[in-house]
Symmetry: D2
Subunit: 143 residues, 4 copies
């Protein structure tokens, strides 16, 4: 099921244009992924303890309107694809005060071995976590 | 003509995976764009003095291998599209020590009025700068 | 009255040592200041609308223990000095799970004109806001 | 001997005040330390390969004037104190175009074991590197 993270814009996230710098939004995507995984009962930390990392392999963003200092924004994330080797997420960032869509985007990730960065089969590495992800992915893709 | 910027990886650009955080590469793209514009005799600052800003409207990245602390990397940038309203760039980041390609990506930008953020016709706003960009874009697209 | 802000550590705030990079803590101080000012009924944005900015003129930090990825930390801030020209804050950052003190620090700020950066008399610029700050500062200094 | 690092201000280092955000300067200090250590023939990476890390234990900054986007700044660093357990540096950041001093500051560091973060005796851990530091520290303190 899609999950939403609330963020208040920090001063250092703005730039001399007076708006949030474009390289900040991928950080917010990451926070939303982190919360998504917590919301389904797991965590990145627990993956790392199991020797699994989930680096970003692809990222794309469309910037529609800028966020500003002290804006409350919400980042909604859902899974768009899941295999034992890869996972993909889609994101929508909106300004809470007026529901304007600010940024939409996608990220792709590979499940890798934390010490060698070699690809691994996540379904085998953490079978219970994988089946929870699979169940959520099905809901997300239907939404 | 494509232009190349050299960057030495800063410690704060790494994360707990021991490699450069994925949200840093868009910052390096921006540095390369800045240098490109300087290499052809202009600057962002001069655009801003003329009331023009060039916000990012789209961004995409493919992450192939991670950069590490203290790596020297080079970011090569070229123009892939230019109209009076928009400009697009493509980037290749390589590790200098072994010429491995680390990240490739693209960015799209709109020419806007610095005070209103409304779209503007850059060919009319700064005609000489536009014609220099046009000349470079032709070279870049042929490369 | 001292105010406390809760922060969950972001992945990009860590570095290759596996802990939060030392340049991140001043950002957390700033968030705590922002929340302090909100807690007493005002905001930085409102100061800026009134043509006042509050740049940092001095900063000091003692690092005792590192925060780690996904830690919940709390930043407690109080005013230590207030004049019509200047304000100073003190901060304590603790890890919520075990109450360990991680970082302590102080910041000094000048009230300046937002367009010229020239010093200004904040008691004259925003008298009601100044008197609220004065009341809070008295409580904080007694604590 | 004091060493100087040149830095060109990145767009993302500015904030909505139109100047460099105050939390960026500690990053520039770190770059200057890194270059200092390279200038005397060593590197952080080599320390880490020898199981030594050098976390920041204290930091202080005085902000005199702001740096702006695209400014070229120079960061001069020298050692102010050295023992087998600790090292301290002092920094001066100036704007290259007019030699204005922008920020001055100091940092304190402990030599620690990279795996346990326990204090270690650096003179014993890397005796040759320590004696080079000692020689440089003497010059710096006399300057």
């Amino acid at each position: 099921m899609a999950n939403t993270t609330k963020i208040n814009v920090r001063y250092n996230e703005t730039d001399a244009m007076g708006v949030v710098h474009h390289a900040v939004y991928p950080v917010w995507f990451e926070m939303a992924r982190t919360d998504y995984i917590k919301a389904i009962g797991y965590s990145y930390s627990r993956m790392e303890e199991n020797g699994v990392m989930l680096p970003v392999t692809g990222l794309s963003l469309k910037y529609k309107r800028p966020a500003k200092y002290d804006d409350d924004v919400s980042v909604t994330v859902r899974i768009t694809r899941l295999t034992p080797a890869r996972i993909e997420f889609a994101y929508t960032i909106t300004r809470c005060s007026n529901n304007e869509i600010l940024v939409v985007g996608e990220s792709a990730h590979a499940f890798v071995d934390a010490s060698t960065f070699a690809p691994l089969n996540f379904k085998k590495a953490m079978p219970e976590f994988f089946s929870v992800l699979e169940r959520e992915a099905q809901k997300d893709i239907q939404e």
